[in-house]
Structure formats: C-alpha cells, structure tokens
C-alpha cells in the first residue's frame, strides 16, 4: 500500500472545514425549540426576576453604592451575562449529549452530505443562539426595571452570541469526553456554579476586603468575568469595575480580545475532540 501512514489517522487534529450546512443542523434545533417555546421561555424569564428581587432589591437595600451606583444597577448587567453562560453551557452539555448519545441524532445526520464537523459546529452555533435568546429575555427584564443606562445595550445581543459560542465550545469539550450524562455534574458544580458567584457578578472583584490577586485569577481563567465586564460597559457603564487598575474602556477591549482568542481556541478544540469521539 502506498503512503499508508499518512492516511491511517483520519482523526488527527485539524482546523475544521465547514460549509453552509452547519445552518441545517442549527435549523433542526431551532425547529425543535419553536415547538417547545413555552417550556423554554418561562424559566429564562422568571429566574432573573427572582435574582433581582432577592439580591438586587432585597439584599441590595443594605449595600452601600458601588462606584456611586446603587447595587441593583451593578447586579443587572451581571444577570444578563449569567444568562449568556447558562444558555449555551447547558444546551451543549446535557441537551447535546442527549441528541448524540440517546437519540443518535448525530448518527442520522452524518449519513447525509453533512459532516461530523458541521454537526458539531451547528450544535455550537445553536448553543450560542440559546445564549442570545436567554440573554435578550433577561435584558428585557432588567430594562423593564429601569436598569439600562446606555444605548450601547443594543450591541449586547452580539456579545451574547459570541460569548455564548465560548461557553458552548467549552461545554462541547466536556460532552466529547463524557462517559455518561451524570458526568456533567462535575463541570456544573466545579465550573459553572463557582463562576456564577465569583466572576465579579454579585460582588465587586475590586472589593477592598479581597486579596488583589483574585482580580488576576478571575481575568485569567474565568470567562464569565469578561462577559460581565463587557455587559456592564454596554448596559450600565458607570458600574464597570477598575479591575487590575484598568480604565473601563481599555478593560472592555482587553475582555473582547480575551474572548475572541479563547473562543477560537475552544471552538476548534471542541470540534476535534467530538470528531475523535464520533468517528473512532
């Protein structure tokens, strides 16, 4: 056989070749979403209202202003950022795993001209879309409570989509290695829940009672920190924290750059890991 060694490992690492077909996979999930929209809609509407009531208006009454702003203004944009994280993370772990493992939906699709890479990419884009939808609902809720103070909030859906793509890609890496669905308890409790509280969401990372090192750690390894920074900058600019002593505008650009780079990295890694799982 000629050149057998070159061709023996079809699952080797590569930049995925994608076509318009990823949108057919996206469309399949979108169609299912539309069918079940009532069940999907309500939780994402109720959850932020509960957080706002409990922490923003309840606990917030006892909290002094942050950067001269009432606490609830500080919290509002963080809730939108949390919706970005939850939307795609849970879509691309539990929901993707069910489609892949129990429903064998991916197996059915890859028997058509759509490739494995495109199936995974379609799932990731759909996860990002879930983030976009969820975050937009939360944005409307905090808007209704008068917590939006900049017209730049109109740009947020874009951030929600690309931020969602990051969490989708990270989630898909876990899906690629998950032996069973219970496995997702690990990333849920060890990754998502800590971030929910520790990424400058409910309390400022620049709080004088915290060691300054926590700012570097959050900026380096907690993706939600960056979504929160951008979210505050676009929705309530007065609440952006001077993390690492950076000026708010510079901080936002640092966060955008971090997101772009890390998203690209995990997007490619997750597709490769899934391809390895599904084709060997």
């Amino acid at each position: 056989m000629s050149e057998p060694n070159l061709r023996k490992s079809p699952a080797k690492f590569s930049i995925p070749a994608l076509s318009y077909r990823v949108w057919k996979v996206w469309r399949r999930n979108f169609d299912v979403f539309l069918k079940t929209i009532k069940v999907n809609f309500l939780p994402s509407l109720i959850e932020p209202i509960i957080y706002l009531a409990a922490f923003g208006f309840g606990l917030g009454g006892f909290i002094p202003a942050i950067n001269g702003q009432p606490y609830v203004y500080f919290l509002g944009p963080a809730l939108v950022a949390i919706a970005v994280m939850n939307g795609s993370f849970f879509e691309c772990t539990f929901a993707s795993f069910v489609r892949m493992y129990f429903q064998k939906t991916f197996d059915a699709i890859v028997a058509t001209p759509i490739s494995v890479e495109e199936v995974v990419a379609g799932e990731l884009l759909w996860g990002a879309t879930r983030s976009l939808i969820n975050a937009t609902i939360v944005l409307a809720v905090i808007g209704a409570f008068g917590l939006i103070s900049s017209p730049l909030f109109l740009l947020f859906p874009l951030v929600a989509f690309f931020g969602g793509l990051l969490f989708a890609s990270i989630a898909m890496c876990f899906t690629a290695i998950a032996p069973n669905i219970d496995f997702f308890n690990y990333p849920s409790f060890l990754f998502v829940t800590p971030m929910l509280f520790l990424a400058g969401t409910f309390f400022p990372l620049t709080s004088p009672t915290l060691p300054p090192a926590i700012q570097s750690v959050a900026m380096a390894i907690l993706p939600l920190t960056h979504i929160v920074n951008i979210s505050r900058g676009l929705i309530a600019p007065g609440t952006v924290e001077p993390i690492l002593g950076l000026n708010p505008v510079i901080l936002m650009f640092v966060s955008i750059a971090w997101l772009v780079a890390v998203t690209a990295f995990f997007f490619i890694i997750s597709i490769n890991l899934m391809k390895k799982r599904l084709t060997t």
Partner: protein
C-alpha cells in the same frame, strides 16, 4: 459482458483499539446488483456497511464507491447513498412527516420536492395515517419502515440496508421485500445485511459470508447451496440405530446431528430419499430442499456468538 463496478474494497480493514473488526477484505459490487452480507453477530457486517457511508474511516486499505474514495470524497458519496441503519435513529423530537422533511433538508432537497417525496414514501410504506404522530407512538415495525422510507428520500444510486426486517411482522417484511425488488428493477445497487436466510435467498443476487472480519465464501444463493449442501435434506428424530442404514444407502452423503434431530444432505437428484423412508422407521420425518441456512450453519459453525 463487462459490468460497471460500483463498490470496490481493496484490503479494507477496520481496527478498534487493537481488535480487528474487518480484516483485509476484497470485494466488488456491480451496478444494479443486490449483494447480501451474511455472518454471525460480530462478524464485521455492520462495520463494513458503516465504512461505505463514511460513518467510520477505514484503518487500512481502500474503499471506492462510484469511483470515489471514502477517504476523500465523503460528501459526494453520501449524496448518492441511502442508509437504513440497524438501530433506531429517527428524530424523536419530530413527528413522522417532519422526520422526513428535515432529513430531506440535510440533502439540500427543495422544500416542495421534499414534501412531495415524503408523502409518496409515507403512502408506499403505509404510514399515511401516522403522518403527524410523534416517533415515540410508533411500533417497532413502523419505525423500521420509516427508516427505510427515509433512506430513499435522496433517490439513492446505492442503498445500504442493515438488517432492514429485524423485528418486523410477516406483512411488513413482504412490504420491504416488494420495495427491494422494485428498487432492483430501477437499477439501484443494494447492500443488505440480514440474519434471515430466506430473505437473503429471495432478494440477493450474490451472497458474501463473513466471519471474524473476513469473507469466507462468496456466490449466488443457488451456487452456494449446490456447492456446500447439495440438493435435498432428509430430517428425522435422531436415533443411533439409523446411522448404519444411512451410511449404507447414501455413502457420499453428509450426515449431521443437530440437537435431537438428524440431517442427511444429499447432492443426488430430488427423490433420492423417497425409497429410504418407505423402508425404514423414522420419526417426524421431513424431506426438504437444501437452503441457505444449511450453508450458513455449515460454514460458520453452530456455536452461539455473543456480540
């Protein structure tokens, strides 16, 4: 007469973690042919079929479908291949009709055309009444039929049927067989795996018997029967006392004990056994034509296989 080769495997091999599921096999399938892959569980049938639609990449060797390599031209290959897999991978999130139209969309079939083809398939496979029913509400037989219907949406040149009639009642099996015969008339090339020997004997032009990842025998059903088991089989309850008489009457016949039954295979013309059963006391005697199941059991042995 030169026939167009549509599928060609050269030293095709698939290994999983050191286990060799398909072991350097070579075969050709001609256009319009129906070829049956028979083999015990774990013989490598499904793995071979999965390589044909790029679901699994070969570890070694080459597999050419319509002149295209599965290593480099998956997209074009899959556009012309219809797949009815063994397991149920219908989309449980959709109704019956939406399963078909969504699947057609994966092939870039325009919406109107997709609906037209989907309705035609539902009609043929007698699933029209179930049009708007969720997949969960279908019986196993209906699901198998829907999977077959779905495999035809792209009007494939090559159809891969992996155990298409497992779990079907006789009526549904005949429906599937009718459709296979109809597709053969349309010159569709069909690869069929099955555990039902009567099905393979009726539908297939050629049989490949695989075991332990290798093709161990090949030929048309009648050729294989003639070659391995002859013409006729005498079956009766087993009795030690009979053996000498049988040996005496049919010195060249192959005699086999299957549980408490005795089988005598003869390649002499039909009617050989008539006199013998008149003159000997045999319990529950039966004379029948040799069939593919005899061939299969003879070649692959009678031991049970676990997956």
């Amino acid at each position: 007469m030169s026939r167009e080769v549509l599928i060609e495997a050269q030293n095709l091999t698939k290994k999983f973690d050191g286990f060799t599921a398909v072991d350097h096999i070579n075969f050709q399938v001609y256009k319009g042919e129906c070829v049956g892959f028979l083999g015990p569980n774990g013989a490598g049938k499904t793995t071979t079929v999965r390589m044909m639609y790029c679901f699994l990449p070969p570890t070694e060797g080459e597999l050419i479908i319509s002149g295209l390599s599965v290593r480099t031209n998956c997209r074009q290959i899959k556009a012309n291949v219809g797949v009815a897999p063994q397991e149920d991978n219908l989309d449980p999130d959709f109704s019956v009709i939406k399963n078909l139209t969504t699947y057609a969309r994966y092939f870039d079939i325009p919406k109107d055309e997709a609906l037209k083809r989907s309705n035609a398939q539902l009609k043929f496979f007698q699933l029209e009444e179930k049009r708007n029913v969720p997949i969960m509400a279908l019986s196993t037989g209906m699901k198998r039929r829907l999977i077959f219907a779905r495999a035809l949406l792209n009007q494939p040149q090559i159809l891969l049927l992996d155990e298409p009639t497992t779990g079907l009642d006789p009526q549904a099996r005949h429906l599937v067989w009718d459709e296979v015969r109809h597709l053969k008339k349309l010159q569709v090339t069909i690869i069929l795996t099955t555990h039902y020997m009567d099905e393979a004997q009726i539908l297939c032009d050629r049989i490949l018997i695989v075991d332990h990842g290798k093709i161990i025998e090949e030929g048309s059903p009648t050729e294989l029967i003639k070659k391995h088991v002859g013409e006729e089989v005498l079956e009766a309850d087993y009795d030690d006392a009979l053996l000498p008489a049988i040996k005496d009457a049919f010195p060249k016949a192959h005699v086999e004990r299957l549980g408490d039954r005795l089988q005598v295979f003869s390649d002499l013309p039909h009617g050989t056994f008539e006199n013998f059963i008149k003159n000997h006391r045999l319990q529950n005697v039966m004379i029948r034509s040799a069939n593919l199941e005899d061939v299969f059991l003879k070649i692959t042995g009678r031991g049970l296989r676990e997956e």
